[in-house]
């Protein structure tokens, strides 16, 4: 993660403390979504763990309450939820649902994706799995890179051009005799570098998928639970309705909790012929924790905060962009930011070594961020949701100092 590994011993809100008592501003972790060790989440966890922790072979009211609260945040067509423990398990189940329900095998993902660590999910995690290991049933579409590829085009033209990549992927499957089951993408394109998706792109893509008889699977592990501020889910921001949605990381604020939300007809078709039981998933403790996360998001108005502070950070990053020629592009929504580092504005050549330096110097100065993208030249800034303007000031000031000192 860093040249000097971090040994952390305590967390509180947006702050982490190492073994020597040094404090770090967490501008990287999205798992502690409502803040490290949030007292309401810890209390819900401890209370329910002291009372009862079983499994879904027995009925429990909290599990039903949580399922209803969660589903109320989705389009009404997405009316069923299956609980899992990890994002990998959620994407595994989504692939099983899509393949069983369509009777087809071909899955499209992007050329720099990460969706988890099982055999099937590794095949659609192209950033770590070379083509030879992806098998015959996975094809990739190119990574969206409007920063380099817009070439003066309007949103509509760019959206159509990118949507055409999905059409080409489906046709490529057909040429190889593989039937198309669906497209699975992260609605933040997080691993891909958080590109600014042109408006109109996702509706066009969903239309192409459905015309080809496939399903649209939205991986909301990164974008979900209000990360973008304006909406609860990434697909709502991009304006495309999924058939299946997968949830993970922020869902339990660190407790292993994940899920699949899907159309009822798909879940019914799947469960008619397949057993799905998950020992730990949907237990009363996980449900109590999940509910507490939803409560805190609402009561502390953390989506509003993401919008407000998000805009403030973007303005600050754009000011840094004017000052430092290393910064090629600044983008983001809500509390998820990407800062693309380049060697020159004319060539847009990625500045990977400098990006790595920045991440490490930021760590040394007590601010945690990371980097992403096919060229490892994009600063990934994605703090817990209670990140305030004063934290933004510290982030921006430190980044300014570090880039100045390069």
């Amino acid at each position: 993660m860093y040249e000097q590994p971090l040994q952390l011993v305590r967390g509180d809100g947006v702050w982490l403390y190492d073994v020597d008592g040094k404090r770090y501003l967490d501008a990287y972790n999205n798992v502690p979504h409502v803040g490290h060790c949030h007292p309401r989440v810890v209390e819900a966890l401890a209370q329910q763990a002291a009372t009862l922790n079983t499994h879904t072979r027995y009925l429990h009211e909290t599990v039903v309450t949580y399922a209803e609260r969660l589903l109320a945040t989705f389009d009404r067509s997405l009316s069923n939820v299956l609980f899992c423990c990890t994002g990998t398990e959620a994407n595994e189940l989504a692939l099983r649902l899509a393949r069983e329900c369509t009777g087809r095998q071909g899955i499209l993902c992007t050329a720099w994706s990460y969706h988890g660590n099982s055999a099937a999910v590794s095949q659609i995690s192209s950033s770590f799995t070379p083509p030879a290991k992806r098998g015959p049933f996975v094809r990739t579409i190119p990574v969206l890179d409007p920063y380099r590829e817009r070439n003066g085009r309007e949103d509509e033209a760019l959206a159509s051009a990118y949507a055409l990549d999905v059409q080409k992927g489906i046709e490529d499957f057909e040429r190889r005799g593989v039937k198309f089951a669906g497209l699975l993408i992260c609605t933040a394109f997080s691993n891909e570098g958080l590109p600014t998706v042109p408006p109109g792109y996702l509706p066009k893509v969903v239309d192409i998928i459905h015309k080809a008889g496939g399903l649209f699977i939205a991986d909301e592990v990164q974008a979900g639970f209000g990360r973008f501020g304006s909406h609860m889910w990434g697909h709502q921001v991009l304006g495309g309705l999924p058939d299946i949605v997968t949830l993970g990381k922020p869902m339990g604020n660190g407790h292993p909790l994940a899920g699949v939300v899907a159309r009822a007809d798909l879940v019914e078709q799947f469960t008619r012929e397949n057993l799905y039981f998950n020992t730990f998933a949907g237990n009363p403790v996980s449900a109590a924790v999940g509910l507490a996360v939803l409560d805190v998001l609402r009561d502390e108005r953390l989506l509003d905060n993401a919008r407000d502070v998000g805009g403030y950070v973007i303005d600050g990053l754009k000011a840094l962009q004017k000052k430092h020629s290393f910064i090629g592009d600044v983008r983001g929504r809500g509390l998820f930011f990407a800062v693309e580092m380049i060697k020159s504005h004319s060539t847009q050549e990625p500045a990977a070594a400098q990006t790595q330096q920045i991440v490490n110097r930021m760590r040394d100065r007590g601010v945690l961020i990371s980097r992403i993208g096919p060229h490892n030249n994009i600063l990934k800034i994605r703090p817990p949701m209670p990140f305030r303007r004063e934290h933004a000031d510290l982030l921006l000031q430190t980044l300014d100092d570090v880039i100045t000192g390069l």
Copy 2:
């Protein structure tokens, strides 16, 4: 699970309480291994969750301490552990390890197995996945059924005959042009009906596997953490040394915690070419919970208890066998028991309907058990580890009454 679903609201040790305040003796659940809501485990969970919960990108001493404590219970050759969140994830990773490290695909499992819910692990879960859905890389060996198949043979002869099934399975792969990667079995053969494995069986099997260039994967999700009383792990009871071991259910007393223990050379070979990162796995909270479970097992001498009470229950069940002709066979080790219900001793025909009745009437009378086996005619009795003689008396008395009333 039951004709009348159970709505539970509270758990304490071996006791569960439903929404109407009715108390149930838990003689079924192995996930709350050291007892429902054990205060030391809950305290460890709550304490660490209030202090820090991150992931293995950062260092944390508790994770290392836990890994060392856990590995000390295995043979020294099994010196590496990879943490996961569920048994499914552990078996997924074990399959990936075995297939990557041997460069082969063929996996043998039994004809009535259950190992989890992902795409790859479903293929080796033959009890829920029909042959057509298991793909070309999975073959099954017959379920061991010494109760019906001993035919007067000595242990040695029976062990050799059963081991031959593994040899035949490997040869069957070869005939189909599939290279043999390994055998994955539950060391309790739990789903298969807890057969009494003849001494000498597993060493012979491991020998056959290794001669064929494959790996032995021991699924300890059911048998592990001292369930059998005499040893910490099922493979130690059966006397065969695995190359890879998978852990799950009892590991976190209900907290989603699982793992893969393996030879260092396999882990090194695998991680040279593959990334394995699991967001929630091996976090400080899970490690603190896992440590607390090991502490309680030791401090409350729960393996000794399993041996003592286990013998007492077996004696009681054998007394019931003499009284009730419905009982064909009684078997078990430690605190894991199988009672096979039959229609007649001459035909040994499974009494599935009566078995279902017994499970439901036991539930009505406040004792929770379940049933297993290819014919659904085997009572599955597998209480939490702090199950004492007085609990055994209640179990045995209720079972006697219920069978008498059939």
